[in-house]
Symmetry: C2
Subunit: 203 residues, 2 copies
């Protein structure tokens, strides 16, 4: 790869290069952009990251990120504390929040059971979920893991673990995406959406 | 755009989003990656940028980036100080350095004459180039600006300015790229490479 005229630049290129999806060429472009930024703008960039790393907390209840003790969702009295939606990472939490359709709480597992990657149930935030359910007051647990083999495995494992507590456990509906053509849907999704058909509601 | 569960994250996403070619989705991905990094790794990232911004200097002779007073190239006694290669930015300097074919010094203009962008000769590092040539001891000035109208304009302007000093001025050879098919070369490049044909050297 390219020789840079300064070790200082080289360090920044290498650091940008560590980010996902950023190759050496893009890293150089970002570094030269940074070099041309004002000192104040560059400081804003690095301060935002430093501040995030120093101040962000993990919510002890749901493992979402938090700024104070409990996260904004757990500490919001308007949320329905009897609903727990189990997600793999905060990425899915953000996606579900953005639907505006869910008013309950979450539980962030921190991943999914994946023997290939050496991730077992003991590596995930499952015991804290069990404690929340065992503490009572939970009307429903919604499993919102991904629709992959690992996600289904995680779902099944959680379902078994939670079955001891006599609490309703549901999963997200699988089916044809809104706006999709039926002829192009894959057979498994189409089959599931047939099996899980719902009464016609006029829309 | 997505609502984030923390203002701290939101700040970092916005900062990443300011970088060229980084949209909101990629910015979120990079932010979550940063969030999962160890505090030490994140500190290495931000320190590298802070250090670059604080310690990098501009070489007073050639306007290349430097860590000390003169840049590494200008202060290298093994370089041929009688050759000056004029480039637009340090990006081109890096590209030429990586050919390993050039052992002279550089002069970084800081852009090219572009009336459309409001960049005139007075905005570029041209007077310092003239001073270097006027000081004597220069055997050749190589104009390595880009092969665009603005680059050619800059070339022509520099040629006129330097013609007072009785120093040979050359430009990079234009021609067919190594590995290119002649039938697919554009007419202007093909025409130039015919005009500037060189004696056969057996390779």
């Amino acid at each position: 790869m390219q020789q840079l005229p300064s070790r200082l630049l080289d360090n920044v290129v290498n650091e940008f290069n560590k980010l996902p999806g950023i190759g050496k060429k893009t890293a150089l472009r970002l570094t030269l952009f940074m070099l041309n930024q004002s000192v104040e703008d560059a400081k804003m960039f690095t301060s935002a990251i430093d501040q995030m790393k120093n101040e962000v907390r993990i919510c002890p209840q749901c493992h979402n990120i938090a700024e104070n003790d409990l996260c904004e969702i757990c500490s919001n009295p308007k949320r329905d504390a009897s609903l727990i939606c189990v997600v793999e990472t905060i990425r899915e939490l953000i996606a579900i929040e953005n639907t505006g359709q869910y008013r309950g709480l979450y539980h962030v597992l921190g991943g999914r059971i994946s023997p290939m990657d050496g991730i077992g149930p003991q590596n995930l935030n499952i015991s804290t979920l069990e404690q929340r359910v065992a503490a009572g007051g939970i009307a429903e647990v919604i499993l919102a893991t991904s629709t992959t083999i690992e996600g289904d495995t995680t779902n099944f494992y959680l379902f078994r673990r939670l079955s001891a507590y006599n609490v309703p456990v549901s999963t997200l509906a699988r089916g044809i995406s809104v706006g999709d053509e039926i002829e192009y849907a894959d057979e498994i999704t189409l089959g599931r959406s047939l099996l899980n058909r719902v009464p016609y509601q006029g829309k």
